[in-house]
Symmetry: C2
Subunit: 492 residues, 2 copies
């Protein structure tokens, strides 16, 4: 468990947490939410909400929200194709997830931007499968090459073919009927698992949706999915996405209060469908850059809001997950590094369970292969901090200090040899050579080196997680399915 | 004050802090320190230490250390030429200081490494003078062009000529008699201040020294300085520099216990000279990379140790300062960004008062002008986190949320206009344009942009803080004094 779930850096006092909670309750009761899905409105009404079917406004008595909060379980499990990679929070945290659904990629050969395809997803899936610091694969990019109606299907097919870690979906909404698209994905999942029952025993896809359009509006389709997943007992959760100055007040406290209201309003619906439905408290809060209206996801205020939302989640005893470690940089440079580094450490020390950031740059618009490798290294550093410092008689090393004595060296003590491998991380990307050695080795910057590491990992992987029989069966069920093969482009 | 001095991320529990404290007391009592300065040994003996004049070993009864701890004041003040820039910790924290005494510079024109000179110090002084996020100027580089015997003098002369913030020295030890060199610096300071009395009223140089060579050895010269500054009531403090696996045990707890013992042993001497001498608890703890023995200052373990030392300092109620946010990168790339970002945020949230990192790369060997500008931006981000989130009725914005209502926008509310300037930072370096606009503006990475910002600031500054009379007087006192002028090299 992330030790800072309890010993965390406290941005907000207990009293302030209560104030925000009360403000959220007041927002839900006085302003309410505009709910566009009729079934949802009916459900809200049946559970004690005040519903105005003209304005679509749903108002929540505090009691309704309180019941929902009490009914959300304190843990959430991500299942994987390979059960060794199953992860439950808070106990297995901190976990790191890829950031997802970028429309574009920096081509690893030209380093120029282009549209993302399932060829990218295949390579990324292998990379994530092997990056030790990345626990959860939220499919990083969209698929321009997906056949009509197979948008989600192509992405999941390719991701599951090459990655045995938990796969999280995002963006199941879009082409055609949401329910049909979702049912197709499940049909494929049953085939992969060897039947519906086997899949339901170990459901290795986690569904994700954003039913709330800030401020305080619940849409038709994602709300439909929210209810569908809860009803079918499929692992799923929603995220709220307030953007201060654009879709929430231009104050951090106002954005927190409104976002918290939005989270709770949608969470209540899942509990109304099926009490005890597991959820994450998941958020992507940002602040607009008021000079241009730009989406300033790399801004430190995004980190501060993540820290505060983590405290709210702890206040309700719901495991939490945030989009953090984001950057506005267009490439993998110092800006990408410090924007990610600062907010990720903030999230860790505020006690977050899941940090979602790996692989993306340019305000979630673009994936870069090298960035994913560097983010893996950031993740290992965060996990090293979470491991902390063992204070034992042996580790305090009084005898060794006494034996070595003033003015001597510890380099060759028995204890130093014994601890060589596990006291400190050995990074793959971060360079520690002398300048001369570094120059002799080619003088790569971190981006250049990370792209080489990415290529090497993808090339070496060489596995598909679908047997030929399963693959044939899936491909016969869905005509025009993308190939989903891993290709290393010339010149990488 | 850094709000995380109290609401901090706690790496160590209270019980663990006591264990480390007790281990340090045991180290000081059982092993002791090897003290090479005879006057110091006499002083230690006079105050109750057990001194072996054959082995030079000084052993400390717990009572002696306890008295010293109780006598160190809870605050420390950095004085500046311009009193508006005076800073006291903890109350004015978190403060950011430049990292200091690099022998080399990346030339801003060629981006190649070369030796540092006072020409660099002049430019850096102007830059630091104007970078809003940097509070304290520890002279960033050495001076290859200093005349014999004027090593410190040249550096301070040039730094004070162009920077009106607090200037901290480092490395007064080296050429010739330390006392003579130090007295020359003070003579210059009196001239600048308009006399000795005026200087002593507002001593704008803070002296810094490293008397302890880990493990547990106190040298001749820096120990001499420690006593000299305490006796003369000059602002000064020492840092300890244990390196796990090389000069301390290869465990974090062992390095913490030994480093803490070293800090306290030297601190006791300053209190013996003059009880109540203000001090910082200052540290530069690192872990060696055991693959090569490299000084892995960018490693996350350096951040973890900083967090732990901050907790020790709080335990004793001594204001603290750490070398953190260091990097092993050879240039200003993603590695420099994430190594700095991660550990700086760790230090902030652990409650550090002073973070010393700005400007250096390559394990403290090299200064880069762009890095200083980027570190200023990191500092502003840290200070934004420290400012936190105001939770007031006005900031929670219930009325505004109610007025805007579900599905609308906050972009044009009166409150948004009113808060435009102060909710979020507007960074100078971090790019937030669309990719297209960014390309049209030249497609600079953060390093390229930061070098342009640095040049612009230095060019625009155009001030010297020495009157012609003072400058003439100093130059007549010290023959061969370096010019100390600001030159913008061709092609920057």
């Amino acid at each position: 468990m992330n030790p800072f779930t309890t010993n965390n850096a406290r941005l907000l006092s207990d009293e302030q947490l209560v104030k925000i909670h009360e403000a959220s309750m007041e927002i839900l009761q006085q302003v309410g939410m505009e709910v566009h899905n009729e079934t949802a409105r009916e459900l809200y009404a049946r559970h004690g909400c005040e519903v105005d079917s003209e304005t679509l406004r749903v108002r929540f008595p505090p009691k309704v929200i309180k019941e929902a909060i009490d009914s959300i379980p304190p843990t959430f499990t991500f299942y994987a194709r390979n059960p060794d990679y199953d992860r439950t929070v808070p106990e297995d945290g901190p976990l790191v997830m890829t950031a997802s659904s970028a429309p574009r990629v920096l081509d690893p050969v030209t380093r120029q931007e282009r549209s993302a395809t399932t060829e990218d997803i295949a390579r990324i899936a292998r990379l994530v499968d092997r990056l030790e610091g990345i626990d959860l694969f939220s499919v990083s990019v969209l698929a321009l090459d997906a056949p009509p109606g197979q948008n989600c299907l192509s992405r999941f097919y390719t991701a599951l073919k090459h990655c045995s870690k938990p796969v999280r979906g995002s963006g199941e909404v879009g082409s055609g009927s949401v329910r049909e698209e979702c049912e197709n994905v499940l049909r494929m999942a049953y085939t992969i698992a060897g039947g519906e029952e086997a899949y339901r025993d170990h459901p290795f896809i986690t569904h994700h949706y954003c039913p709330v359009i800030s401020p305080l509006k619940m849409d038709e389709d994602s709300t439909e999915l929210l209810m569908y997943y809860a009803e079918k007992e499929l692992p799923a959760h929603h995220s709220i996405v307030p953007n201060a100055g654009l879709s929430s007040p231009l104050t951090l406290a106002g954005t927190l209060a409104q976002g918290n209201a939005e989270y709770l309003g949608a969470a209540a619906l899942s509990q109304m469908v099926r009490p005890g439905t597991p959820l994450l408290y998941s958020y992507l809060p940002t602040v607009g850059d008021m000079r241009s209206g730009a989406y300033a996801s790399g801004g430190i205020e995004c980190g501060i809001l993540n820290m505060a939302f983590a405290q709210m989640a702890r206040f309700y005893n719901i495991p939490c997950s945030g989009y953090i470690g984001l950057t506005n940089s267009k490439l993998v440079d110092a800006q990408a590094g410090y924007e990610k580094g600062l907010s990720c450490m903030g999230g860790l020390l505020a006690g977050m369970d899941v940090l979602q950031f790996a692989g993306l740059i340019d305000a979630l618009l673009t994936f870069d292969y090298g960035m994913a490798v560097i983010d893996n290294e950031i993740s290992l550093m965060l996990k090293r901090v979470a491991r902390g410092m063992e204070v034992s008689e042996e580790n305090i090393s009084l005898d060794e200090i006494s034996q070595v004595g003033p003015g001597s060296m510890f380099l060759e003590t028995e204890q130093t040899f014994a601890r060589m491998e596990d006291t400190a991380l050995f990074p793959d990307v971060a360079d520690r050579d002398t300048r001369q050695t570094w120059e002799e080795k080619g003088g790569h910057d971190a981006w250049g080196k990370s792209l080489l590491v990415a290529k090497e990992i993808i090339e070496r992987h060489g596995l598909s997680y679908f047997s030929p029989e399963v693959d044939t069966e899936i491909r016969s069920q869905f005509e025009d399915m993308v190939p989903g093969e891993v290709i290393i482009p010339e010149g990488w």
